[in-house]
Symmetry: C2
Subunit: 423 residues, 2 copies
């Protein structure tokens, strides 16, 4: 029953059925939004204790610091102690910041552009290119675009990007200054980097002496199964490879506590941490330490975080199961699309028939199902095969997820049959 | 009894007395710190209600927004409504951010450098100079130094900088792109800009079409007397003068609620706000809205802020009175130093005998009284007359303020007599 096996007659009939189904879908007047990887209200409720913390009279941190006042650029040590083992970075190489790791990435780029990395020249004075494993995170790519950094897409597999391509690019071009990596449950494919791939990335010779891996461990503890893949000690591996300063690590609690009111992290070699803090100290007299204290008293320990993440999983894993189930049931037999079955993170990556993703998203929109724009997971928004669609199932209610995905499958098949009939 | 009237003999005797007094001072082994304008614990205690806010189950903003989730780059409207009349800027032209206006100033500079202002070329591609009224705020100057922006000091009077010098500089040099202004109770002199001076600044012809006034209204509501000078409608004046985009306004609650955990503000013309938000949206998906809600429910109204500031005044005004009193009592008769009597803000600016400020600060340090480095209030840390010392009396206990200022006066006179005897 693969689409490619159907006769023109059968295809025409299927197309007619799908057109009818699509008309019915539009008539339902749905209003569903699967665009962004936002936690649902039920997930946010898990951390409502934060709304009354740190608590009356509670403003003194372990080291005797008054969290209400200025200072302490590196952030509270008790908070860094909780996340150090989870991110596999030493406490003293971990910096705790404000509510968004995206901001830390932005600032790290800005410092590199205007001031240069440790021992390097300002990037703004040189042509600068970044490698972008694709599909990837649109906000990473937007940062590059914002600052005129040319992006080079390299296909991302289950355990990392095509290493031959990456090695070739960094070895031959001194303008290649960086690579975006989401090592655990990558956005949107769910790829999990292995220690072997990581080692290759920190070991590879680079033409640029100031090449940097932007290691965004956004989903380090965001497991969807019992196999809770631990973070890789990327700083240790880089150090062992003789490239201690190659890696900038980023993370946050945006999808652990509150998406808009959590804490974020930067980690790196001692030299990179000193570099980051020196530039950061021009920008601020310190992070929101009351929010650090609030988080430290709520989360308590690494195990406290792990337990909270299991409660998140209880809320969202069924939504992922539903997505996979409906995709399998309604698309499986036609062999025109494929999708990921992530073990963690926030997304399912759907590849529809080549050349139809834009059409599918447009059809869905007309039917009241808003998906992330086709191509969003690619540099400049350009998916060379126009086939990738990112599904973000965490935010809507389960019934809405089901309705949206069911509707989406109609659009996927309608676009695929249209294309075949036109071809 | 002016120092300059003393005979060499009397001077020698005074120097001997002061040397003895200084030795006694050193022997006391003081440990006092008057370096930074930090609020005291008693001031921070005023806002301890924030430690349990927004409160159980409270996470929905007026517009129905879930403050725990992503989004809302401009910040909560109920918070902006409170500060709009206090800062004299329209609600829709006000952006609420995270815990530091210094960060907003940093980012505004970064956006101007890397992207250019509205309709302008990136500053990073052109020579860029800033006018710095002196003495001024060291962290403003540190930002310029960080980004290689050349600073030109212009003397600051009681109501603003020397306007002839400013007009001449901006009219003749297209590289002059900005000026730092603290309009109300300037750091460190307490200068208060008048509407006339403000009008002159927004009206003056500038060689650079993208000239910007960095209007840091850090102490807009920080009165020390009953005369509560209102903020000037600088955006309205700039608009009326035909230069609506000339002004960036900054403010924060650092010295209203918690210094490390407050909220900050950016304001400007509609075009500048759109410009700022467009660049900001690459950096973050939104500010900490839970902290916005916390502040809105605590402060409640503009009058709520004014009342809180009166309670701050009750804590700190006596410390300022003490400083003025001791300076007057112990230095007045010698006519070798002068100081400000601010009506608000966080500092007293002390001018000692020309060429002795560095020596005074060193003497004080040996005696365990840590003052801000001499010259700190000048670009590159260079006070051309080596005479200015910034006194920050808010943080220490009243008895410590008294002991520190009394000790400081001994150092001031000792250095002055040393210099006269050597001269």
């Amino acid at each position: 029953m693969s689409l490619s096996d159907l006769s023109r007659e059968d295809l025409t009939e299927l197309h007619a059925q799908l057109t009818l189904a699509y008309e019915e879908l539009v008539a339902q007047g749905l209003k569903l939004d699967l665009t962004r990887g936002k936690p649902s209200a039920a997930q946010l409720d898990l951390s409502n204790e934060l709304l009354t913390l740190p608590g009356a009279g509670k403003f003194t941190a372990e080291a005797g610091v008054d969290c209400r006042n200025y200072g302490g650029t590196q952030g509270l040590v008790e908070l860094r102690e909780i996340f150090s083992p989870l991110l596999q970075v030493p406490v003293e190489q971990l910096v705790a910041g404000d509510n968004a790791s995206l901001s830390i990435m932005h600032d790290t780029l800005v410092f590199s552009l205007l001031k240069g990395t440790v021992g390097g020249e300002p990037w703004v004075r040189q042509p600068t290119r970044f490698i972008c494993p694709v599909p990837g995170y649109d906000r990473h790519f937007a940062l590059c675009e914002q600052f005129g950094i040319e992006m080079i897409g390299v296909p991302l597999g289950e355990h990392g990007p095509d290493l031959d391509q990456v090695r070739e690019l960094v070895a031959s071009d001194p303008a290649v200054k960086g690579i975006w990596i989401v090592p655990t449950y990558a956005n949107p494919t769910g790829a999990v980097y292995t220690e072997g791939v990581t080692r290759a990335l920190v070991e590879m010779p680079t033409a640029a002496p100031d090449f940097r891996i932007f290691w965004d461990n956004a989903y380090a503890v965001h497991h969807l199964t019992d196999s809770e893949t631990p973070a890789i000690d990327v700083l240790g591996l880089a150090s062992a490879a003789g490239h201690p300063d190659r890696v900038f690590v980023f993370a946050s609690t945006s999808k652990i506590t509150f998406a808009g009111a959590g804490v974020s992290f930067f980690a790196g070699s001692p030299a990179n941490v000193a570099w980051y803090l020196a530039h950061l100290s021009k920008r601020t007299i310190g992070p929101d330490k009351v929010n650090h204290l609030r988080h430290a008293s709520y989360l308590k320990s690494p195990e406290g975080v792990r337990e909270l993440m299991r409660r998140h999983r209880a809320v969202i894993a069924p939504k992922f199961d539903q997505v996979i189930e409906i995709l399998t049931e309604r698309l499986g037999q036609y062999e025109t699309a494929s999708w990921t079955r992530p073990d963690g993170g926030y997304f399912v990556s759907l590849d529809v028939a080549d050349g139809t993703a834009t059409r599918v998203v447009a059809l869905a929109k007309t039917a009241g199902i808003v998906m992330t724009a086709a191509g969003a997971a690619f540099p400049y928004g350009l998916d060379p095969r126009d086939r990738n669609i990112r599904i973000a199932p965490t935010m809507p209610e389960p019934a809405d997820v089901a309705a949206a995905i069911a509707g989406l499958t109609t659009c996927v098949l309608l676009a695929a049959t249209e294309q075949r009939l036109a071809g």
